[in-house]
């Protein structure tokens, strides 16, 4: 328990399923008090669902949501000490700005102890207007929660609504002193302060429909922070704003976070937003966390090619780790700072465009020809082809097109990662001696090509392996095929199995496409053509090899 103390929210084995579809899959995450944490990922990666489980709008199928060490996974939203800023703002159209912001304050209740008439101990819910005011400070005392209510009244505490406060009010006659009760004063003051924080003073009486998108967003934030939540949840709050407004709000949100000192949990699909605002970025895909870390860590040391591709621009290439500190990238040998990958291990390489230095032909590690170069504000963006692979380069110096140059990358700027997948190794079930079922698609094969010492009489349908007659039907096996063995076709009916393009990564010359089948299995293919996310494609397999056969009955 002791070491949990600094974490305000902990997600433990959090899983959410809708029917058979798993949206969030076994997430574990600790969020420190006062941090600005961002869930980053493409749409459908489960980031919003995770946020909604923290807010209480979704009940997790499995797992825990710990708040200050207490499990709140099954608590309804109105009992949780968190507030949400919604993507669509969700401002109440029938209330004006003031009443929208005061909505949560007016509902505030605490539980106190008191005695029944017969002397029995009991508890009761006290509304904000009956909160007791500490005579010393003149402010409502929240610490009386769970304590004996009436003993405090005996001590000279007064309910908030019974306190008289003098305020300046604008009337037709001009500014006059007026007396209001402490409850009204308290709400008024709180709302005013929240409006000041979001920069919308004097907007109290405005109709929410008459506000611009940016102003509505500010009201939504004010409505949430006025309740002084321990954690503020923001669900793509800037998604509906235009670029200028969005950038301005990013800075303001960051400042608000500093000023308020509460924990922010932010959801976005915009990597730039995530990098500029957060203390911690959590990159998600398919309901799982790919990587969590500071923006700098995530940018400089992405754990997978997918993260590198999603965060900022990068050159992602195939490489082979020759030995420790030495890596072969597209035919040239680079020095690097990584060790422990073993010898001749295929790896993924990430090089950020600004880390490539353009030098004279002799001084580079690899030579190439500049294909194009364009001015793009501060750096020039250029493309250099080396051994058939394209490198994107950001440089402050212009390079003439067609010039042969040398490229140099400092060893520490080469980020090396294990490949997530080297090939497709998938389970299959034989459906006859010449066909197998792969994720619901029936593929044909020639048994003599995959079994050693094998004879097949296609007319009699007799298969002999090592002189023994065999029937494959019903047996399970594993087969392996390389990325390049897959032929992608846009006619899904021309292939036994179809799927949708889930993501793709450019490897300098070719694309590695992640194809998601209808049963949510992944197959990776190598192609030189650019496909779009969501494209429906048929998967043909040119050749494959048998890894193992499970001996059936």
């Amino acid at each position: 328990m002791e070491n949990n103390k600094e974490y305000i929210i902990q997600l433990q084995g959090l899983t959410k399923q809708y029917g058979s579809k798993t949206v969030v899959n076994n997430i574990n995450l600790n969020i420190e008090k006062g941090q600005f944490v961002t869930f980053l990922g493409p749409s459908g990666c489960g980031k919003t669902t995770t946020l909604r489980m923290i807010a209480g709008f979704e009940i997790p199928t499995e797992g825990k949501v710990l708040f200050d060490g207490m499990d709140i996974a099954k608590l309804p939203p109105h009992k949780r000490p968190v507030n949400t800023v919604f993507q669509k703002y969700a401002l109440f159209p029938h209330l004006n700005v003031f009443n929208n912001i005061a909505f949560g304050l007016k509902l505030k209740k605490i539980e106190v102890a008191c005695k029944k008439k017969n002397g029995e101990d009991t508890t009761k819910q006290v509304k904000l207007k009956n909160f007791l005011v500490d005579p010393a400070t003149g402010k409502p005392d929240f610490s009386i929660a769970n304590k004996d209510y009436y003993s405090y009244i005996d001590k000279g505490y007064v309910p908030l609504c019974k306190v008289k406060k003098e305020v300046n009010k604008m009337t037709k006659k001009g500014r006059v002193k007026k007396e209001v009760n402490g409850y009204k004063y308290y709400i008024d003051e709180k709302v005013r302060r929240a409006l000041k924080i979001v920069g919308l003073s004097d907007y109290e009486t405005r109709d929410v429909d008459s506000l611009s998108g940016g102003q509505q967003q500010r009201v939504a934030i004010a409505r949430a922070i006025v309740n002084e939540p321990k954690v503020l949840l923001l669900d793509e709050p800037l998604g509906a704003l235009d670029l200028k407004m969005r950038q301005e709000m990013q800075i303001e949100l960051k400042e608000m976070h500093k000023k308020l000192g509460i924990t922010f949990i932010y959801v976005t699909h915009d990597q730039e937003e995530a990098l500029t605002m957060s203390d911690t970025v959590v990159v998600m895909k398919d309901g799982t966390i790919l990587q969590e870390g500071s923006p700098i860590d995530i940018y400089n040391e992405p754990r997978t090619a997918y993260v590198a591709d999603f965060i900022g621009e990068s050159n992602i290439l195939d490489g082979v780790m020759i030995e420790d500190y030495k890596v072969n990238i597209v035919g040239a040998e680079f020095k690097c700072v990584d060790a422990g990958f073993g010898e001749n291990t295929p790896v993924d390489i990430v090089i950020r465009p600004e880390d490539i230095e353009v030098k004279s032909k002799e001084n580079g590690i690899i030579t190439g020809v500049i294909q194009w170069c364009r001015f793009r504000g501060v750096p020039y963006e250029m493309m250099c082809e080396c051994n058939g692979f394209e490198f994107t380069i950001h440089s402050t110096i212009e390079a003439p097109i067609g010039k042969e140059v040398g490229l140099y990358v400092a060893p520490e700027n080469i980020q090396i990662m294990y490949k997530e997948h080297v090939d497709n190794t998938v389970p299959v079930t034989f459906t006859s001696n010449t066909t197998f079922d792969l994720y619901g698609g029936e593929y044909e094969f020639n048994p003599t090509e995959i079994f050693a010492n094998c004879n097949y009489d296609s007319e009699q349908d007799v298969l002999t392996i090592d002189g023994e007659e065999k029937t494959l039907k019903g047996q399970e096996a594993q087969v392996r095929f390389a990325f390049t063995d897959i032929d992608m076709t846009d006619d899904e009916y021309a292939a036994p199995l179809a799927g949708n393009v889930d993501s793709m990564i450019y490897k300098g010359k070719n694309y590695i496409v992640d194809i998601k089948t209808d049963d949510n299995h992944h197959i990776y293919a190598d192609t030189e053509y650019l496909w779009d996310k969501g494209d429906r494609i048929g998967i043909k397999i040119d050749k494959f090899e048998l890894v193992s056969v499970k001996e059936g009955e």
Binding site: G56, P76, H78, F86, A90, H94, G104
Partner: protein
């Protein structure tokens, strides 16, 4: 141009059968039946002499208000639960609740009367209000259902996020946001139930009269008096429309009320 000309038959129909009769009602209401001269007040003075009329108006108001209130009380929960998909898979339930509209209303009233006679329910004001509620309930459910269905779930989530219990969220958010539907439903029940006839006659064994029955009971020679009552009703109608518009405001299209 061609598209516009498609509206001509409708415009003609409206002019002849809606606009013209309205003008005629206005004219007849202010014409002395005996000599055909224009007199602002003659028909209304005649009406004031009718001793039954006071009672008729009183009954009409009682029946109208109680029917609307009852329809709202019964209709709102029904409409509310019908908007929840689990209660209304593919809109079947709403169809069932509106099904009574498909049966001829006279038939329904006769049947109800027969049932009441069997169980010994006294025919009178109570039975009339029951009949009217039965008759007009679908007119209440429909606009309410449309309005509640269009309330974005995010408002309810917003309210519960801010600490409102489900009941609080209902009263503080759902009810105010369904106001256009409530007003629309009330107008659709109130005016027709005041002016309806036959229902009263059947359900009170001819002992009670509402404004509709009263107009019906006037002889053909007192057309002018009928026009005068219609004029009063017209004012009622305009007033209720005015109130309804005030509530729906420019959100009329957003709120999903029937007008």
């Amino acid at each position: 141009m061609f598209k516009k000309s498609l509206a001509i038959p409708y415009a003609l129909f409206m002019a002849i059968f809606v606009l013209l009769p309205l003008v005629l009602v206005l004219v007849f209401a202010f014409i002395d039946a005996t000599d055909g001269s224009f007199d602002m007040l003659i028909n209304f003075k005649e009406l004031a002499k009718e001793q039954a009329l006071g009672k008729v108006i009183g009954n009409s108001l009682i029946a109208g208000f109680s029917t609307s209130a009852l329809c709202l009380l019964i209709g709102y929960p029904i409409a509310y639960y019908l908007t929840k998909t689990e209660f209304n898979k593919k809109g079947v339930m709403i169809g069932l609740f509106l099904a009574p509209m498909w049966v001829n209303f006279l038939l329904r009233m006769m049947a109800t009367k027969a049932v009441f006679n069997v169980i010994g329910f006294k025919m009178g004001m109570g039975a009339v209000i029951f009949g009217l509620t039965y008759e007009f309930l679908p007119y209440m459910i429909m606009p309410l259902y449309n309005t509640i269905l269009k309330i974005d779930k995010c408002y309810i989530e917003g309210a519960s996020d801010l600490g409102a219990t489900p009941i609080r969220a209902f009263w503080k958010v759902t009810v105010p946001l369904s106001m256009p539907g409530i007003v629309s439903g009330l107008t659709m029940v109130m005016i027709p139930s005041i002016t309806t006839f036959a229902v009263t006659e059947i359900m009170s064994n001819g002992k009670m009269m509402l404004l509709g029955d009263f107009i019906y009971s006037l002889k053909a020679d007192s057309l002018n008096m009928a026009a005068a009552i219609s004029f009063i009703l017209l004012i009622f109608m305009c007033a209720s429309m005015f109130i309804s518009n005030k509530y729906t405001g420019d959100n009329g299209s957003k709120g999903g009320g029937l007008w």
